[in-house]
């Protein structure tokens, strides 16, 4: 039971990270749309976003990769020890 709760909490923390990253991407896209609407140097905004958005997505992807990678072994080992 506790094991499942901890797993759910871990999943939630990862989801929160993705919500944060997607939130930032939406915020930046919103700022680009404002600059386009106001014709206020949209090129600069797009330039910044091209660098910023992938950075956040890469960080979240690395975390997800580690989580999935660690859980894969953890689950298969737990299963083996139960069967044993």
């Amino acid at each position: 039971m506790q094991k499942n709760l901890i797993y759910i909490a871990q999943l939630i923390s990862l989801i929160v990270m993705w919500i944060f990253v997607i939130g930032i991407a939406i915020w930046i896209l919103n700022l680009i749309s404002i600059s386009v609407e106001l014709r206020d140097a949209p090129g600069v905004s797009i330039g910044i976003s091209i660098i910023a958005i992938p950075v956040f997505f890469t960080i979240a992807s690395i975390l997800t990769y580690v989580f999935v990678g660690l859980q894969k072994d953890y689950k298969s080992n737990s299963k083996t020890s139960l069967e044993g």
Partner: protein
């Protein structure tokens, strides 16, 4: 928590001790700094209630301690992730007891520094405007973006190498096992898990270096993108990055020396660590002097009247004391102490590091205030005297840093245990292999 937990027979028992045993010193330190922090909080509430009139800021000096401290704290944050990433990337074996502390400094100081622009707002609720009507083409918004990216990357970069150590604490049991179970992400130390973790750390350490450099470059843009004399400089980007790394190394050395003494980490943090980092501090001091010299020489040579006005304000005017103190602290003291083997003891390194931290804070003060005090328009020359509220919030920032660091050390080891173990097992073999690979005749090296 844990008299039952047996850690004393471990080789690295010294690293577990602060987590499982709480001395009087811990409560006294937390008590003192918590009080200071609460005092700062009270002062901040006073500021929100009465407005920015309670600060020493006025026209024409509309940026004071808060922006100085913002630049200063963000600069200190370069201690960590950047230095740690460079040491990891260059496979410097002596990095192992240093990297964790460096990464913790970054995460805590970035959080503190990042909040300072909000302190500078008379109406903190207006920070929400950046979400709705922010202008991404403004360097201020570049700051928000790059600091958020650096904070996110640094926190992840601090967290990932901690996973094996968190799993060790989980396996030992005790009061917070549920928390360690949650944070260890199912780490069991299998080959596959090690491969996954190392791959992720390797990607992050390459990523974090340009992010860290971009942060302080962008901070310099707040100043250099204006046409303000004393600020409008093309070398401000690298000048700020050099200053940030410089102050970061100094802060790291202070933390290392203090915690070495308090937690008895003499077996881990040896003289060689302080000598290597001391040499790095000396190099940064020379580099800082070179940039400062170039910055002022070009200004003096061109002799543009407004620029000269500010230079003289710093050299011989009201800010002369701060300017020359800055030169003494950032150049003379570190060069004299770190340039001679005789003075390059741990105490010497501590004195040089404290001087550099003070000197770098003065440098930020010298950049922010004089340019504002001498406006281009025909206004009277301003004078900035910080109020008690600003001093309180400065002390509050430092208290938050000490509290954050002390609390971290209560839950996690300050020196990476698994990396120390790995070093014992593999570093000699690894270094030998590396030397053999590039040294002519390396194959004749025998054990």
């Amino acid at each position: 928590m844990s008299k039952k937990i047996d850690y004393r027979n471990e080789i690295d028992a010294t690293l577990y001790k602060p987590i499982y045993e709480t001395g009087k010193g811990f409560y006294i330190t937390v008590g003192i700094f918590l009080l200071l922090f609460l005092w700062a909080l009270f002062m901040y509430i006073t500021q929100v209630w009465f407005g920015l009139g309670v600060t020493g800021m006025n026209q024409p000096v509309s940026w004071g301690f808060y922006i100085v401290n913002f630049v200063f704290f963000i600069g200190i944050s370069h201690a960590g992730t950047l230095i740690s990433a460079i040491l990891r990337l260059s496979k410097a074996e002596w990095r192992r007891p240093i990297t964790r502390m460096a990464e913790v400094i970054t995460a805590i100081v970035l959080a503190i520094g990042g909040l300072h622009p909000i302190l500078d707002l008379g109406r903190p609720d207006r920070v929400l405007n950046i979400f709705t009507v922010g202008r991404l083409q403004s360097p201020l918004l570049w700051d928000v973006t790059s600091i958020t990216a650096y904070f996110t990357a640094s926190t992840v970069y601090l967290y990932l190498p901690m996973i094996p150590d968190i799993a060790k604490l989980r396996d030992k049991g005790g009061k917070f096992t549920w928390f360690y179970k949650f944070a260890s992400w199912g780490w069991q130390g299998t080959e596959h898990q090690k491969k996954v973790l190392n791959r992720a750390i390797n990607i992050l350490m390459v990523m974090v270096i340009p992010i860290a450099i971009s942060v302080h470059t962008v901070i310099s843009y707040i100043f250099s993108m204006t046409l303000q004399p004393g600020w409008h400089s093309t070398i401000f980007g690298p000048y700020f990055v050099v200053g940030a790394i410089f102050s970061g190394i100094a802060a790291l050395l202070i933390v290392m020396i203090v915690f070495r003494k308090v937690f008895h980490l003499e077996d881990y943090l040896k003289k060689v660590h302080f000598q290597y980092l001391g040499t790095l501090l000396l190099i940064m001091s020379l580099l800082w002097f070179y940039f400062t010299f170039s910055e002022y020489l070009t200004g003096i040579f061109a002799a543009e009247p407004h620029e000269m006005h500010i230079i003289l304000y710093k050299f011989t005017g009201p800010y002369a004391i701060f300017f020359w103190m800055m030169v003494i602290c950032n150049f003379l003291i570190p060069v004299i102490i770190l340039g001679f083997k005789r003075f390059k003891t741990i105490t010497g390194v501590l004195i040089a590091s404290i001087a550099v931290v003070i000197g770098m804070w003065l440098e930020r003060l010298n950049i922010v205030v004089p340019s504002l005090a001498n406006p281009r328009m025909e206004l009277t020359v301003g004078m900035y005297v910080p109020s008690i509220v600003e001093w309180a919030l400065f002390i509050g920032g430092i208290s938050a840093f000490v509290l954050g660091f002390v609390l971290f050390s209560k839950f996690f080891p300050l020196i990476s245990i698994w990396e120390t173990e790995e070093g014992r097992k593999e570093s000699v073999k690894e270094v030998e292999k590396r030397v053999k690979s590039y040294l002519p005749g390396g194959e004749i090296i025998t054990k």
